[in-house]
């Protein structure tokens, strides 16, 4: 039996543990109340369930505060602090240690989930969906609070009191991005639990109102924005710390965060069909159930160690529990959907293939194939291992790129045509007329790029599609501005439309960054001697100007000062006291609008005479980060309400969404 509390050994630990156990009790009570309230349709019982979320949120806040205080005060009587923190770490590392290891990250997850449940409890309408949405949030909470209060509790007593903790994982101390990426990712993953709760409530009650569409879309959009930012922040972390000059390696855990992104992106488009036309209702519910399940699958892959990945540090005893939860979600989701499918039948007429709906559905098709491909590639080595009893297969970037590039280009193509098309049915000739300037500009851009010496087919197509998208959005905006009597006026009247356009432009910028940095990255290695003549690498003059060692208390840094064409670069090799033999490179990167210069030290002479370096030059990498910023701003803009949100939504739909 698990020993959860020991009052004499740790006061803070006991307080934290009590908070978590009480939160668990309130979660159970809230779940029971929500279900009873839902079945009996008793508003007072539902109100009690609603207030239970407040208690859970307050108690988990207490738990997380206790852990933060213990980390900052170096209280090594608390197990998590003893195992994952140490005195000599700088304060920001101590703060980020809160989510630097399994127990803390589950607690953060549970806390964010309770925070979302709290916000939901304040915003839920008093309708038939309310008890079931709350109940679903309680099921998710029960799982996460249950784990962090028992098998993965950060507060269980320590057997031997340590004078100093074992310290955080070195890979996580190497870059400040570790303070950002996991939190954003959790906000994205946890954020999807709210649309999931609405989806389950809709399935249980068989009701899908206009209001359901509006709130589900908004919550999904919020989660999607965080997820987008998190995925790219993870890529940036990889770029800045792993020393290989890349940002995306199709690592299983990267894939696990990408699959929900693909599914939610598909959902954000197909929900608009439901909003405008009352179609695709059960499909949308399915997408949400799948997207939320895929976040749990991702966490399971991350935590169970069944896939090999750069995130191997995150392993722990909770893998089977996550697998159980995943199975539960899928079984309940499929069962509910099968039971309720007749209730979610579409009333409206099926759209014509050439229409906005048709473009969205074709996009959905590509997004789902994309998600399936990534899932298959991620799990294939595990399937082979299960069948053959040993690891005998790997799936690398060659496989993913073979599918991802054509699928991505196909999506860019649809992205340009979607906004041009009217709902219901497009007039073929009108569409062709609208497409001519787009196609012409795309061809023109590709031709110019070709003249400038670009020969890679993928890059040429990306450039053509980028021009085609930008010109399309530009023409649409110009026409709308002319009709509305000014750009400002149309922007004010349609923030949502221009938010979507902005996000599309961000995606175009990102796609160009991916295409150029993927195709034209240059890479060279050399060993530089101190006080030697400059050597030429990738047309740059490299000179090693100094080598020095710095003791940072929690580890050592060897800093190689290299001058590249006269500009100083300071690349580091860090070691941390937890892993004395392992070198963690911290590359020196000079960001530029047209390309980055990236210098990483691969080894340094212990005698201080030479350093081996790798110089990487990749064009347009920073466009990936800027593009993501534009996407997130655009997504934020779509959430801005126009002056009369409800009044606008209704006349916009040709056949108002049902119920």
């Amino acid at each position: 039996m698990l020993n959860l509390i020991s009052f004499p050994s740790s006061a803070l630990g006991s307080l934290g543990q009590i908070a978590l156990l009480l939160a668990l009790a309130f979660t159970l009570a809230g779940l029971a109340l929500a279900v009873v309230g839902g079945i009996r349709a008793d508003a007072r019982v539902v109100e009690a369930a609603r207030r239970a979320t407040w208690a859970v949120f307050a108690l988990l806040t207490l738990g997380i505060l206790v852990l933060m205080v213990a980390l900052l005060k170096d209280d090594f009587t608390v197990r998590y602090v003893a195992e994952h923190s140490m005195r000599s770490s700088p304060t920001w590392i101590k703060v980020t240690s809160l989510w630097g290891a399994l127990e803390g990250s589950i607690l953060l997850w549970a806390w964010l989930l309770s925070g979302f449940a709290f916000i939901l409890s304040l915003t839920l309408r008093r309708d038939a969906l309310r008890p079931w949405a709350l109940g679903t949030m309680f099921v998710s909470l029960l799982f996460f609070v249950g784990i962090c209060a028992t098998i993965a509790s950060p507060f269980t007593p320590v057997s031997v009191l340590l004078a100093d903790g074992r310290g955080p994982n070195p890979a996580l101390q190497n870059h400040w991005m570790m303070a950002v990426h996991p939190v954003l990712l959790y906000l994205g993953f946890v954020g999807l639990s709210v649309p999931f709760a609405y989806a389950v409530a809709a399935l249980v009650t068989g009701r899908l109102s206009d209001h359901w569409v509006v709130v589900t879309r908004r919550w999904t959009l919020v989660a999607w924005t965080f997820l987008t930012a998190a995925i790219v922040a993870g890529g940036w972390w990889s770029y800045e710390t792993l020393g290989w000059g890349g940002y995306w390696a199709w690592d299983p855990v990267e894939n696990a965060s990408f699959i929900p992104w693909l599914l939610t992106t598909a959902f954000l488009h197909s929900i608009q069909i439901q909003e405008k036309r009352g179609l695709m209702r059960s499909w949308n519910v399915w997408l949400i159930v799948l997207a939320y399940s895929s976040t749990v699958l991702g966490t399971f892959l991350n935590r169970s160690g069944i896939v090999q990945s750069v995130h191997a540090f995150a392993g722990g005893p909770v893998g089977p529990v996550f697998l159980g939860f995943l199975a539960f979600l899928l079984i309940v989701g499929i069962g509910l959907a099968a039971w309720r499918a007749p209730a979610l039948r579409d009333e409206a007429e099926v759209p014509s293939p050439v229409s906005r709906e048709g473009a969205f559905l074709a996009g959905n098709w590509l997004f789902l194939v994309f998600a399936f491909m990534v899932l298959l590639g991620t799990l294939f080595p595990t399937f082979v291992e299960a069948a053959q009893g040993r690891r005998d297969a790997s799936v690398g970037p060659a496989f993913y790129n073979a599918f991802a590039i054509p699928l991505g280009l196909g999506l860019l193509l649809l992205m340009g045509v979607g906004p041009l098309l009217p709902w219901r049915r497009a007039d073929g000739q009108g569409l062709m007329r609208a497409l001519v300037p787009l196609l012409a500009s795309g061809m023109g851009a590709a031709l110019i790029a070709f003249v400038f010496g670009i020969r890679s087919a993928g890059v040429l197509i990306t450039i053509a599609l980028a021009a085609y998208n930008i010109v399309g959005l530009g023409l649409l905006t110009a026409r709308a501005a002319r009709q509305a009597g000014g750009l400002g006026r149309t922007l004010q009247a349609q923030p949502r439309r221009y938010g979507a356009y902005t996000a599309h432009i961000g995606l175009v910028v990102l796609a160009l960054g991916l295409a150029f940095s993927g195709a034209y990255r240059q890479d060279a290695q050399a060993t530089l001697n101190l006080r030697a003549a400059p050597s030429t690498l990738l047309h740059e003059q490299l000179e090693l100007t100094g080598l020095r060692e710095v003791d940072r208390g929690f580890g050592q840094s060897t800093i190689a000062s290299v001058s590249i064409d006269g500009k100083p670069f300071k690349a580091r090799l860090n070691t941390y006291v937890q892993a004395p033999g392992t070198l963690f490179p911290a590359p020196a990167v000079r960001y530029g609008l047209l390309g980055d210069t990236y210098l990483v030290v691969t080894s340094i002479d212990p005698g201080g005479q030479w350093a081996s370096v790798r110089l990487i030059e990749s064009p347009l990498v920073s466009w990936i980060w800027w593009g993501t910023l534009i996407i997130c701003l655009g997504a934020g803009l779509t959430l801005v309400s126009p002056a009369r949100p409800v009044a606008r939504a209704v006349p916009a739909g040709l056949a108002p969404a049902t119920d």
Binding site: G246, Q308, W365, F372, A393, S394, S603, S612
Partner: protein, 188 residues
Amino acid sequence: MRGGVGCRLSAVEANSNRLTVKPSKRRKHLASCLLTSVFCLSLAHATAPATLPLTLPPAQEGRAVAIQRNLRCPLCDTGESIADSRSDISVKMRSSVREQIADGRSDSEIYTFFSQRYGNFVLLDPPKTGRNLLLWGAPLLALGGGGAALWAFLRRRGPAPAPDAAQDAEPYDSYLDQVRRDTGGGGT
């Protein structure tokens, strides 16, 4: 860079292995290659001043880099390719790839060479044969199947409204429908 000599030596040793080991013979290579790499490491330390690596003409160099990107470091648990990994075995494998290209072997011969030594595990670009056809074929099937399903759905347009109209003669009214549902009058 360091240990160029050591790794050149072991690459030569690997080359001689290649002649003696029958391709069909399967065995656990990981342990032996671990030993080799430790041996390589110790040699590397013994001969610190680095010798120049084998230089290849640009076309062959491009091939070498492409192959190195598609071979997985067999001892790293991060899934890195040998092109990106800094481990000793990756250094050794990189120089072996260059040696073999200089010897005039084809890409597939080089991949076979490594898969026989370290298992299919090192092939990051799974060959499109045998069980890997499932991997490569399933996304295509999904693309085709999904496309067919989408087409069938959009084609349903013509005949679909007829049965609905037969069931429910009055024109659809969302307000009426909502009232019906809220009063439990047959919406579900």
